[in-house]
Symmetry: C2
Subunit: 143 residues, 2 copies
């Protein structure tokens, strides 16, 4: 990252646009034994660049990791342009009816019995700051 | 991860195969302020599932992170099958001529002046353990 040419507003707008085009992002958490952990995930709802929602199994290892430490990072890219973004923030595990209803969509039916499936948890990633980069043209922003 | 059906050998073979098909993987490091950090990266050389090589700019933020803590994780997936892998290990920053020569390829010419470019560093990820998952059919292995 030698150049930092974009304004905060430009970087934020570009991340928002890129986020709307990617199916899969990668989520990094503080894992066990001091190792970071990482996995691909599909967002189920995206609110601008401020909140990104996921669903996960209650038995997933990330649940324990996030209970221990909610600090997380998300990244995604366009394979075509190689534009990339990173978002830093905290991930919250939610189990209330309103959150479940908010994120529920038909695609989740293949994995869960319904929005009240007791094995499902909603994850809400609250963004603190972000970065956009496309071939060295980059910028950072804070929420 | 409810099921763990694959043997160590099967899981390792499947990760090796999947690794050979992906252009981009994601690298998670222990970043600053207790936050994990994450970014997409293109491997420049892959030795089975044991060593994965990258090139990076000396000025990249990951250099400082890896000097502080070499523990890292890598993940990738097939957008088609949604098969995914994770690898945990340590990332070493190398600056010797043999490593530079070993990883050098023509594609790097767009970024660096040559294999002896002083702004380039070689990164070698030494895998400790790994995981393969495809629709709940999964397995772990250690090196």
């Amino acid at each position: 990252m030698k150049e930092r040419e974009l304004t905060e507003k430009e970087a934020r707008t570009k991340v928002e646009k890129l986020l709307s085009t990617v199916d899969t992002v990668y989520l990094a958490t503080n894992g066990s034994h001091g190792h970071p952990n990482i996995r691909p995930m599909m967002p189920v709802k995206i609110d601008g660049v401020e909140k990104i929602w996921f669903c996960t199994d209650l038995e997933s290892s990330k649940i324990i990791e996030l209970i221990k430490d909610s600090k997380a990072a998300i990244s995604g890219h366009s394979p075509k342009s190689m534009a990339e973004f990173r978002l830093w923030g905290s991930m919250h595990i939610l189990d209330d009816a309103a959150s479940r209803q908010y994120v529920w969509n038909e695609e989740l039916e293949s994995q869960y019995t319904g929005e009240d499936d007791p094995t499902m948890r909603v994850l809400r990633f609250d963004v603190i700051s972000g970065m956009y980069n496309n071939k060295g043209k980059s910028g950072i922003f804070t929420i």
